[in-house]
């Protein structure tokens, strides 16, 4: 028996807005990569469409519908309240078509979101040194680039807003390692926070919801993340010592909390450890609402599917608010 009292999308929005909760705690994952195991299909992000433009439109449409169907099937089977669309190819035109298709096939059942970050995250290994040097040698240039990134993202969001159909953005620039942010809180306040504030504000002004994701230990910059006023913080990474109980105590009145189920334990821990992590997140996240059940990253390639199904069983049994 499904514990939802209304449509998945509405439950999700109620949690984002920290309204009084009812029914089952909402749930979603940033990505569910195990589509081959679950549905016998390659995840859209793992498909190579380098001949996209060469295809007949009829064939492109078949691919679009296949991907849209897979996003919806994933949400249905694992009872997600939201779908994080990963359009492939990722052009604006294909993104808008994907929004339309998912709405056509599933109506307003699910909350739809897209990638929307435009702030500096941890550069990849090859670029990390260069970025560190730029911070020291060309601070003004880094700030100009940060502003340009935000301006571009806002223009894209305006086009999506005019088109309609999308509910929000997930901002997925990772800022933190397990032991803390990739730049000092002081540099973060100079090179990231002002731009994150602008970005979230612009998205909110257009009526979008905003979920800010980052892995790692966010505690040294948590206040700055909250200063940007996202609707939710995602990941709350226990591998970075982020604790759901502490987050709830410190920030539960300001922002919706998503995640905290230890992906490391789901992957390499015992079943009991993974279960305990899910129960801990539920126990400390649920009180008063403003909480969405999720792992601390995503259902990534290599994670045992049965572990995910096991924590979903716990969610179904224990993630219900009193009537």
């Amino acid at each position: 028996m499904d514990g939802r009292v209304s449509a998945p999308r509405e439950d999700f929005i109620r949690a984002l807005e920290r309204q009084p909760p009812a029914g089952r705690v909402p749930h979603f994952e940033l990505v569910f990569f195990l589509t081959m195991q679950a549905f016998g299909k390659v995840h859209p992000s793992h498909r190579s469409y380098h001949q996209w433009d060469q295809m007949e439109e009829k064939e492109r449409e078949l691919h679009r519908r296949d991907m849209a169907g897979l996003f919806i099937d994933t949400a249905r089977r694992f009872e997600h309240n939201a779908i994080f669309l990963h359009p492939n190819p990722g052009t604006l035109a294909e993104t808008l078509r994907m929004i339309d298709l998912v709405r056509e096939l599933s109506g307003d059942t699910y909350f739809l979101m897209l990638h929307g970050d435009a702030t500096f995250g941890i550069p990849n290994g090859a670029q990390l040194e260069a970025f560190a040097y730029r911070l020291a040698d060309d601070a003004d240039g880094v700030k100009r680039e940060a502003q340009q990134m935000v301006d571009n993202a806002v223009r894209r969001a305006e086009a999506i807003s005019q088109h309609g159909g999308l509910d929000g953005f997930a901002l997925c620039s990772d800022y933190c390692f397990n032991d803390g942010p990739f730049i000092s809180p002081g540099q973060f306040s100079e090179f990231v926070t002002p731009y994150l504030v602008q970005l979230v504000s612009a998205y909110r002004d257009m009526g979008f919801y905003v979920i800010k994701h980052t892995d790692g230990n966010i505690m040294p910059i948590a206040d700055q993340l909250l200063e940007a006023n996202p609707h939710a913080l995602h990941s709350l990474d226990p591998q970075g010592d982020v604790d759901m109980a502490e987050m709830k105590r410190l920030y539960g009145e300001q922002v919706c909390l998503i995640g905290n189920i230890n992906c490391g334990l789901m992957d390499t821990g015992t079943v009991e450890e993974a279960e305990a992590s899910a129960r801990y997140a539920l126990r400390h996240g649920m009180p008063g609402g403003g909480y969405i059940f999720s792992t601390s990253n995503c259902i990534y390639t290599g994670m045992p599917l049965e572990r995910y199904e096991r924590i979903l069983d716990i969610w179904r049994a224990e993630g219900n608010y009193a009537a």
């Binding site: 290994g125 990390l128 040194e129 390692f177 000092s184 540099q187 591998q239």
Partner: protein, 214 residues
């Protein structure tokens, strides 16, 4: 004579141009290159590491300190070679097979160089055989393995096992690190050393090769 405490300060503050200039001045004044490294440069990097562990320095401060260290070392290394001065140790570093992440590996490599080690960086997606072959070829004392993914962690055990089975490896040690890695896992697979951060990796490397901080 130049006051070389300014070289220490230049490295610690990440001022690579001043560090290089002071190193050149010191060499021009016939200062013993080994004493420049041991008394001023490595202590500066050690202090950067201490500040990193204390959350006073973050990754960028660490990297620009390492850049300043390298800028000075470019001038001093040829003199050390002329004087037959050996590095603190030779370390083969790399990210294990199947894993393409290199942020942590690069940080550790920079800090090891700053700590006076010669580093042979094999990059990412490195097979057990490549580690052992490179260690043998370069006469390394130590292999440093990095992994970000829980799914690639088992590759570390394969390297440890191969080192133990390889007669050519001799007294070669293996240390490991990476986001999902713990001391418990290091013990479980028989790794000789473990660190959960780049600065600690230098101290662990020193312990394993039997040298003390300058």
């Amino acid at each position: 004579m130049t006051d070389l405490s300014t070289l220490y300060d230049a490295i610690l503050s990440g001022d690579h141009k001043t560090a290089r200039s002071l190193a050149q001045t010191a060499l021009d004044e016939n200062t013993d290159p080994k004493s420049i490294v041991d008394k001023y440069m490595i202590p500066a990097m050690d202090e950067a590491g201490r500040r990193f562990e204390a959350n006073v320095f973050y990754v960028p401060e660490l990297l620009i300190a390492a850049r300043a260290m390298k800028a000075a070392m470019e001038l001093i290394r040829p003199k050390l070679l002329e004087n037959h001065v050996e590095p603190a140790g030779r370390v083969v570093v790399g990210t294990v097979q199947g894993d393409l992440h290199d942020i942590g590996k690069n940080l550790v490599a920079s800090m090891l160089e700053g700590g006076g080690f010669e580093v042979i960086d094999l990059g990412v997606d490195v097979s057990p055989e490549q580690y052992v072959a490179a260690a043998t070829e370069h006469g390394a004392n130590l292999i440093a393995l990095s992994a970000l993914l829980t799914t690639t962690m088992p590759g570390m055990r394969a390297v440890v096992d191969l080192v133990k089975q390889s007669p050519a490896a001799g007294d070669l040690k293996v240390m490991i690190g990476g986001a999902p890695i713990t001391q418990t896992y290091a013990d479980e697979i028989g790794a000789d050393g473990f660190s959960d951060n780049a600065s600690g990796a230098v101290n662990e490397a020193r312990r394993l090769v039997g040298v003390t901080a300058a």
